[in-house]
Amino acid sequence: MSPLWRDEVAIYLAPRKLALVRRARGPRPRVVAEAEVAVAASASGDIGPVLARLAEVLAEPTWHGAAARAVVADHPWARYGIVPWPATRLDAAGRLAHARYVLGDTYGEAVAGWTVSLADTPPGRCYVACAMPATLRSALEDALAPARLALVSLQPRLIVAFNAWRHLLPADDTWFVSVDDGSLSAVLLRDGAWDRVHMARLSPDWSVELERLQAFVRLTRAAGAQGRMFVDAPAWMRRGATESAGLEWLEKGDGAPAHDLALLQRMYA
């Protein structure tokens, strides 16, 4: 197998589940294996049990010898911030320190030791910053190594979901909401870029959360915004709502693959 045509394994890591998709590359790329695995949840959001379960799954030769692209759930392993372009000229280290300050101001000491990454943004614009636990990457690489999987990408879920759906999103006054099992991330778009980002934990009762989401839509429109709200959510969540509720579901129908597997496959679209 040529390194240029190396297979890729996309892995989604969430507190209570794992999803894997293996994709053969070459002139005709195709999905050759996929799996979704439940994980016994840990109360503290520790990634240890998830990685332990991942190591068990990766024992199968199906997943061996490929490049790995990992996606981690926003909650509890990612925090976002919109960092204004600094008034004074800053180098890369200065921008990183500025972003760390903005994230610390929003989330407090919880992200003090986390690794921060910045989005590639044209000069003069606000840019997206994301923090992730500092040990996550090395722990993930340790779990991948026995299966000869080389980590080539590590992204949080909201970034991957947004990039997968952005071709359907109007550039102005648009909310993009990504709902996962137990958490919600929402981005307000202005002039094609992220203007605000919110994260929230969801209760087990989805009907209550759906009402909250619909109330949020009504409130933002009442505030004068004319925008629309596009929601990326699993099929079982969509069944409880209708289009008339003011939400626009990005994924349609019930026959599609599982939500997380669909996200991993959409990474390559």
């Binding site: 690794t115 990454s117 910045l118 989005a119 590639d120 997206v128 994301c130 992730m132 990457r137 980590l151 080539v152 990408s153 590590l154 992204q155 949080p156 970034i159 947004f162 990039n163 952005r166 071709h167 999103l169 109007p170 550039a171 102005d172 648009t174 993009f176 778009l189 094609g192 870029a193 992220w194």
Partner: protein, 174 residues
């Protein structure tokens, strides 16, 4: 066309500064052009070397050290050229006119030119020293000669008439 949301490039492992396809294409075109230019330059250099080698094989050497024979030949040629430049006709005509003006008191014995110095040496016999001086004055008025001088005079005792042999020198004008 409706404007859409821009992608967000953020990754904790992969570099996010990706070169756009057009930039990569332009870079490839630039490299190809540089390569083509280098190859063309190399071909021209090789062609120049080949032509220089061919020229060296065909043409005689441009600078050759002169041999003693050629130096001697050149000196002889220069001497001949100088001898050919002596104005014999004007010189002899002037000397003949000067002898005629002296009413037969001067007998011209020898005319010896020195082309390298444009000098002519004249040997003659006169009866008296005033005849010699008159002859010298006549030559000094000549338009062909310049700076005539009396170099020596000697009374010939071996001759029954005891003539005075004089030697003069003068430069000829070109």
């Amino acid at each position: 066309m409706r404007s859409l949301a821009r992608p967000v490039r953020l990754d904790f492992v992969a570099p996010v500064h990706r070169a756009p396809l057009a930039g990569a294409g332009l870079c490839a075109v630039g490299l190809a052009a540089a390569l083509a230019l280098g190859l063309a330059f190399e071909r021209k250099l090789a062609e120049r070397s080949r032509l220089e080698a061919a020229l060296a094989a065909v043409a005689p050497p441009r600078h050759r050290a002169p041999s003693p024979e050629s130096l001697q030949g050149a000196a002889e040629a220069a001497a001949i050229e100088r001898a050919l430049h002596i104005p014999w006709t004007r010189l002899l005509a002037e000397l003949e006119a000067a002898s005629r003006d002296s009413t037969g008191s001067v007998s011209l014995l020898q005319v010896e030119p020195d082309p390298s110095k444009q000098l002519v040496r004249i040997t003659a016999e006169v009866r008296t020293l005033p005849d010699a001086l008159a002859y010298l004055e006549r030559l000094q008025r000549s338009a062909v000669l310049r700076n005539p001088m009396l170099e020596s005079h000697e009374r010939r005792k071996d001759d029954p008439q005891h003539p005075l042999r004089i030697k003069l020198s003068a430069e000829w004008r070109t």
